[in-house]
């Protein structure tokens, strides 16, 4: 198997050349940007809202131990069970054992990136359970045996034609080019699954410590159905989802919607605080909450990048990222794509294998600027580069930089070097953009700028003399 880095190079190179794909992604995202900015403008003070959201998340993170325990206590008091998982293996094992104990056949799921992170579907399917993704985008990519393309818009890369073909093939649906007809096909197929399902698995957007509730943000109603109809409700969430107080959601819900999809508020924002209580008409008999670490405490231990735990997974940094917009979500090869994925994946899955994502950045800072919780994303990309070199630098690279430093620190030598380069430049032109070119890694996909006739140093000399 090729390394993650060379796979990324191959995939990214292929995607960048796919103009149709790029056009489609740009078009989807331009609509998002319009509605997003008009809704951010409805806020009386979006910038202060960002600062406050960051402050509240920081408070949660600084007292994470206390808030997690409080969250657990409240939930347990209402009859829910809370399971703590060190890693993906423990979380999967717990859910598998539960599904077996419940003698489940069908498991319906609403969108949760943490389940992608721990590869839950594969594990459940291998054990013989039928697993149905209910979010429309997730349902589509599940039928295609593909990972989600984007943490918020999983099927953003597909055209209605491709989806129609897929439904024709897998669901025996009539071909159509109408997104509504396609949506209704999925609605019909999934209705029966909700009713038949023994277990519903959801994620959580927030975990309220004060009252022991999870908050789920969605538009389709699939998470509501998933958490209402099956007898058992399983919630899978990372330990960083904590917010201290219920009232904090008055800020976070509209911010998540605005940053995530450009809506003022998404269609359903639901709080679940336990299984059905004695006097209630319906709801699950059992609620199990799985709290997952899976290297999040490693991020916490890194004081420099701890702020990444503020992330509310809105996907805004993906939407504005020039790299994401050109290479697309699948090229990353990670659960979390875009700038946030490039920053945290090295912590979750190993710095040396994943630091290449931090190189794939123009450091333009658009991600940092858009982040609703003010994560310092583009500086973290730089820090990852620095850390990767500090941990295991390439001797060749080190030598190169030492030579470069030696030359540029000596003005005369530098001037001489420039003259030599200028002299050699016509020779390079002979091989320009061919494999024989000494700067082929650059010229194979870019123009090599030519030397100015007069250098800055020459101009400066003329000016001062």
């Amino acid at each position: 198997m090729p390394s993650a880095s060379s796979q990324f190079n191959t995939d990214a190179t292929r995607m960048v050349a796919d103009l149709e794909h790029r056009q489609m992604v740009q078009q989807s995202l331009s609509g998002y940007q319009k509605t997003r900015s008009s809704n951010a403008n409805r806020f009386q003070d979006w910038e202060s809202a960002r600062s406050r959201a960051a402050t509240i998340k920081d408070e949660a993170i600084r007292h994470l131990d206390r808030y997690l325990v409080q969250f657990e206590e409240k939930l347990v008091a209402r009859g829910a069970k809370v399971f703590w998982a060190n890693d993906a293996t423990e979380a999967r094992a717990y859910i598998l054992d539960l599904a077996r104990a419940k003698q489940a056949k069908v498991i319906v799921k609403s969108k949760t990136m943490v389940s992608e992170e721990i590869h839950l579907n594969e594990a459940l399917e291998k054990a013989g359970f039928k697993v149905v993704e209910s979010d429309l985008g997730e349902f589509i990519v599940q039928l295609r045996h593909e990972p989600p393309y984007h943490i918020v818009f999983p099927a953003m890369h597909l055209t209605r034609g491709q989806i129609s073909d897929l439904f024709q093939q897998k669901l025996a649906a009539e071909p159509t080019s109408d997104p509504e007809a396609l949506t209704m096909t999925a609605r019909k197929a999934l209705r029966q699954e909700y009713i038949a399902a023994d277990i519903g698995i959801t994620g959580a957007n927030f975990a309220v410590a004060e009252t022991g509730m999870i908050s789920i943000t969605e538009n389709e109603g699939n998470a509501r159905l998933t958490s209402s109809l099956p007898k058992t409700h399983v919630v899978l969430l990372g330990i960083e989802k904590i917010v201290p107080r219920l009232a904090d959601l008055a800020l976070f819900l509209p911010m998540l919607a605005t940053a995530g999809t450009g809506q003022q508020l998404t269609c359903y924002n639901s709080l679940v605080g336990g299984p059905r209580s004695a006097e209630e008409i319906d709801g699950p008999e059992d609620m199990h909450v799985v709290l997952l670490d899976n290297s999040r405490t490693r991020l916490l231990a890194d004081a420099e990048q701890r702020d990444t735990l503020r992330c509310i997974r809105c996907g805004a940094c993906l939407n504005v990222c020039p790299i994401f917009r050109n290479v697309g979500g699948h090229a990353y090869g990670t659960t979390y794509q875009g700038p946030i994925g490039s920053v945290i994946t090295p912590h979750l899955r190993g710095l040396q294998s994943w630091q290449h994502l931090s190189q794939a950045s123009s450091l333009c800072g658009a991600c940092t600027e858009t982040c609703p919780v003010k994560i310092d994303l583009h500086h973290h990309l730089l820090q990852n580069r620095r850390n990767a070199v500090a941990e295991k630098g390439s001797p060749f690279q080190q030598l190169g930089f030492r030579a470069f430093a030696f030359v540029v620190n000596r003005p005369r030598l530098f001037g001489f070097a420039i003259r030599i380069m200028k002299f050699l430049a016509p020779l390079q032109r002979l091989f320009n953009a061919t494999p024989g070119d000494p700067v082929w890694p650059w010229t194979k996909s870019r123009e090599l700028p030519s030397f100015a006739r007069k250098s800055f140093r020459d101009l400066w000399k003329e000016r001062t003399s």
């Binding site: 806020f43 009386q44 809202a49 960002r50 600062s51 402050t55 920081d58 408070e59 600084r62 131990d65 997690l68 209402r78 060190n86 423990e90 429309l136 589509i140 818009f153 999983p154 997104p179 509504e180 949506t183 999934l190 009252t211 538009n219 389709e220 109603g221 699939n222 509501r224 159905l225 209402s228 109809l229 330990i239 219920l246 009232a247 008055a250 800020l251 819900l253 509209p254 003022q264 269609c267 359903y268 639901s270 679940v272 605080g273 299984p275 209630e280 008409i281 319906d282 670490d293 916490l300 231990a301 420099e304 003010k374 310092d376 500086h379 730089l382 820090q383 620095r386 500090a390 941990e391």
Partner: protein, 263 residues
């Protein structure tokens, strides 16, 4: 050590240490990558201190979208939000008008049956309807609920700021009735109209704390998706239609439709 203890121990260790996990002699200062713009140096730039006061979410109202102070302005805002969300928003002066409105809705939509919470006073608004009425209780089958033409519920509040309906397992006749049928009709009274989201959370706490319903939701328009080419489609999995009927005008004292009568 079990997973709970080891996770908590790691958290405490991480918070105590606060060191750079890659801190193999390469300090932050050396590469100066941790600089922040002066704009960020305010609230977000919190120091590692236990003593600093908790700001929490007090005062967030002034960051959120503006809402008029008066009832008429809030109704107008709710109507405007409903329009853009594709919620049908209807106002009725009194219960007789609401009854007539529901009859009109039933005819227009061709309702064949409806669901309402068992023992709910909503029943009194539906006397003109001669279609089967499913009173939802613990014994109601999901498959029956799925088949009704509309689910009619009360609510806890309407929120002018966002055009939302706040509904709980208590006010909504459980969890499923407001999401499974294809049309959801909400009966609200004018005293339930709130200005904004912070107000809705205040209400939640006043009304229920510490015994919150196991399920509470903010419903903001009918179910929707944009997952196919970002084209808006209503009725993805939940109701394709949402109708909100607001009973009474400013200062009207009317009964709440969200609670079953005391038995």
């Amino acid at each position: 050590m079990n997973a709970r203890d080891s996770i908590l121990a790691r958290i405490r260790e991480a918070l105590r240490g606060g060191s750079d996990s890659h801190g193999s002699g390469h300090s932050v200062a050396e590469a100066d990558l941790s600089h922040r713009s002066p704009a960020d140096a305010g609230e977000a730039d919190t120091a590692e201190s236990e003593a600093e006061p908790v700001v929490g979410s007090t005062g967030v109202r002034r960051f959120l979208p503006n809402v008029p102070d008066d009832f008429a302005g809030q109704v107008a805002l709710f109507a405007e939000r409903s329009e853009s969300l594709k919620t049908e928003f209807l106002r009725c002066a009194d219960e007789a008008a609401a009854s007539a409105q529901l009859k009109l809705l039933a005819d227009r939509e061709g309702w064949e049956s409806i669901a309402l919470p068992a023992d709910s006073e909503i029943r009194t608004l539906l006397t003109d309807l001669s279609i089967p009425k499913l009173e939802v209780s613990r014994s109601t089958a999901k498959t029956d609920l799925e088949k009704v033409s509309a689910g009619i519920t009360g609510c806890d509040a309407l929120i002018a700021q966002t055009g939302s309906v706040l509904l709980t397992a208590k006010s909504g006749g459980g969890r499923a009735m407001s999401v499974l049928p294809v049309h959801h009709v909400v009966i609200a009274t004018s005293s339930q109209l709130l200005a904004d989201l912070p107000g809705a959370f205040e209400l939640m706490e006043q009304k229920y704390a510490p015994n919150f319903p196991s399920f509470m939701t903010f419903i903001t328009g009918p179910s929707r998706t944009g997952d196919i080419e970002r084209v808006l489609v209503l009725g993805a999995h939940g109701p394709r239609k949402l109708t909100v009927i607001l009973l009474g005008g400013e200062g009207t004292t009317s009964r709440a439709w969200n609670q079953p009568p005391v038995t």
